[in-house]
């Protein structure tokens, strides 16, 4: 049975096509102003790679902030699921020992405790504050004049711990500028940034409880500086699966196989 999952996020759209439990293809595009177009582009790219057409997909499930849009043509998803449910299904599939899944996307952060079947036992979401999401790192990278993908490796170079006072992205920008003026090395500032974000995500995760194995997914999981900071913050090992940003879409494709 061929299924597909689409995760229409704030910054990127991810599409995954599966045949049973075998992944046929993956595609990612930037979420543009026209969300439908972006979703269509991601799906079409995934179809092309898999060498199939839309009618070959028996069941399609949408997730992500823009999932409602995917219920309409041209995507015409059969149903939608919340990100937390998709994350749980996807994380347990890629790492069966997952009991806590943390998803840090561009504009939201989520944490869920899950059972061995990938069902959600409890969860917590931050969708109101940019400081607990990828947007925070992006804004700080801009202030630091560093590419966002370089932030993680840069932070790893530092051995110092500089506390950041600001909890708000807007205030933190000014604080980073002050640190630059004070000639603080860039790697130390980068570490202060990932540390402060880890502290925020950590306090969110603690609200739901930490049970091993802890799996980190979402775009921010690709920031190795943040991963190390979160390990320190939670005092636990953290598993980052390959292609962590696709786990939500993967979960949606798996849920599609149930045809519920």
């Amino acid at each position: 049975m061929i299924t597909a999952g689409i995760d229409l996020g704030a910054r990127t759209v991810k599409a995954v096509i599966m045949d049973g439990t075998k992944i046929l293809s993956k595609a990612i595009t930037i979420t543009g102003f026209e969300q439908k177009q972006s979703a269509e582009e991601a799906l079409n790219n995934a179809l092309k790679t898999a060498g199939i057409s839309r009618k070959d997909i028996e069941y399609l499930v949408a997730t992500g902030t823009g999932r409602k849009v995917c219920l309409e043509p041209p995507i015409s998803a059969n149903r939608e699921v919340t990100e937390v449910i998709a994350d749980a299904a996807g994380a347990v599939f890629v790492h069966p020992a997952t009991r806590t899944v943390i998803d840090v996307g561009a504009e939201e952060g989520r944490a869920a405790r899950v059972d061995e079947k990938g069902s959600v036992k409890d969860f917590v979401i931050n969708e109101r504050c940019a400081a607990g999401a990828g947007t925070f790192v992006e804004a700080m990278a801009r202030a630091l004049e560093v590419r966002v993908e370089d932030m993680g490796p840069l932070a790893l170079k530092s051995t110092r711990s500089i506390p950041m006072n600001a909890q708000c992205t807007v205030f933190a920008e000014s604080e980073v500028v002050t640190l630059i003026h004070e000639q603080t090395p860039k790697e130390d500032i980068a570490k202060a940034i990932v540390d402060s974000m880890a502290a925020r995500i950590g306090s969110m995760v603690r609200r739901v409880g930490i049970e091993k194995d802890v799996v980190l997914i979402g775009g921010v999981a690709k920031n190795i500086g943040f991963v190390e900071a979160l390990k320190r913050e939670l005092a636990t090992d953290i598993v980052v699966p390959p292609d962590p940003e696709f786990v939500g879409a993967l979960g949606a494709a798996l849920i599609a196989a149930r045809k519920e």
Binding site: F33, E107, R128, C129, A130, A131, T135, A139, Q167, C168, T169, V170, F171, S174, V177, T178, H181, E182
Partner: protein, 299 residues
Amino acid sequence: MSEERKEFWRWPEYRWVNPDIDWTKGKVITAGVDVGSVSSKAAILVDGELYAYDYMRTGASSKDSAIKAMTWLLEAIEPKMKLEDIHYIVGTGYGRVNVPFAKRAITEIACHARGANFLWGPTVRTILDVGGQDVKAIRCDEKGKVISFLMNDKCAAGTGRGMEVFADLLGVPIQDIGHLSLQVKEEPPPVSNTCVVFARNEASALLRQGWPKEQVAAAYHLAMAMRMVELLERLGVEKDLVVTGGQSKNIGIVKRVARLLNIEPLPNPTKPGYDPVAAGAIGAALFAKALYEREKGVK
């Protein structure tokens, strides 16, 4: 290639000296320096009367900002006044402990209440102070003594910085954005995101959809006013209400707060130099006077 980028968010700096006072004839000269997270203010009193004040952007260092605000003000005074001519200086604001020449540091909450009492008189009971990186609701008695307060200094939503972000986005000078926000026939729904970063994204999308600038400005002003009113209502509002800090000069905010609360704040004082932005510095200078007199045993 360099391109000059206009800083729409930046408030103009200014200073004022009372031409009717000869400070050399004064007995007690005191000053207050309010080093805020965004702006620094200095005020000088001669025998308890407002003599001079200024307003500047805070730099990277609180200490340097305090020195600059004081130096720039002293430079405007004729005949020349030196720092040593001032009998007592109190520091206040976010950077109050870093004011090198201050004998004491007092919280900006106490200073704003004291300053508001001076600027508007003893009928003031509630103060809404909208600073660069915080927003406070303060209740005080007829002497300007603080009874209770609530503050948000964790999040840019509802603060002056949030408004600066929008001035920048809309390309409208910060001192004009309030007027612009009132140029709408009908009030649009408020910007729905609380977070300034997300609100900015939301506003960009509205602009792309073809919303005129004034409508986007109105939507953000309304959202911001709603947050302020929420804070005020949690504290409880007693008349008279006044607004201090940068947003006291934003008619778009003041009008909306008045409408939502159904309480008209007292208009800004018309007496020269009585600037609600300097309320904290003036309050600090008043505390300085009281402290000096207590020290000297003057009644």
